[in-house]
């Protein structure tokens, strides 16, 4: 359990999880932008991944969330 001090010092906000937004989870809201980004990636020279050993990992529940009723 995080202390109030730790919560106040966080950079990431405390996010309210809203089940009503679940309807967007499998939907691409901005398909043209995704297409543009994917086209860019075909020829882009990306910088090196500084966290390649962490690739694929997510932190489980590290963002403080509170569920909407």
């Amino acid at each position: 359990m995080k202390t109030v001090q730790e919560l106040n010092n966080r950079k990431a906000p405390i996010i309210a999880i809203d089940p009503a937004l679940d309807k967007y989870r499998d939907k691409i809201m901005f398909p043209e932008k995704l297409e543009k980004a994917n086209n860019m990636l075909k020829t882009a020279k990306l910088p090196p991944n500084r966290h390649s050993r962490l690739q694929g990992l997510t932190t489980s529940g590290s963002a403080e969330v509170e569920k909407q009723p």
Binding site: I15, F30, L34, M40, H51
Partner: protein, 148 residues
């Protein structure tokens, strides 16, 4: 980062966020989406207004609600929240128009001290990504979280 921000809501995977902008043009729902791209671990940040009548998203809308700084601060905070859950990710952002891309640059510049401390920042020119410099026009931006 002391700038006022709007309250953020998100779905459980923290790839879609919503907040409400309030100003002279009324209440406007804004959506932020972190889109998985063809490059594993690289997400595209997309952002726009939700049309209250149709429910459709308009990423070209200029809502001009007089709260640009609060909107930018809110988007930046969504980026922090996203990276909290996906620490190894890259996030790419480019506007639908040159003006929107400039808006993203404004956001980075406005919060540069915090962002430079917490992220590896890159500006895109054509196919190339170079360390972000203030005052330079870019086609897009790329960020990765720093962990020291």
């Amino acid at each position: 980062m002391d700038t006022a921000k709007y309250n953020l809501k998100a779905e459980i995977e923290l790839t879609r966020f919503e907040f409400i902008s309030e100003g002279p043009n009324g209440v406007i729902r804004k959506l932020i989406e972190f889109q998985a791209t063809t490059d594993p671990g690289l997400y595209n940040l997309a952002f726009g207004d939700k049309n209250k009548h149709t429910g459709e998203i308009d990423d070209l809308a200029v809502s001009a609600n007089g709260d640009t700084e609060m909107v930018l601060a809110t988007v930046v905070f969504a980026v922090y929240a996203f990276f909290d859950k996906y620490p190894a990710a890259f996030v790419y952002a480019s506007g639908s128009t040159k003006e929107r891309t400039r808006l993203y640059r404004m956001g980075i510049t406005r919060f540069y001290d915090d962002m430079k401390r917490d992220f590896y920042l890159y500006g895109q020119t054509g196919d190339n990504f170079t360390p972000f410099e203030m005052g330079v026009e870019y086609d897009g931006f790329l960020a990765q979280r720093k962990f020291d």
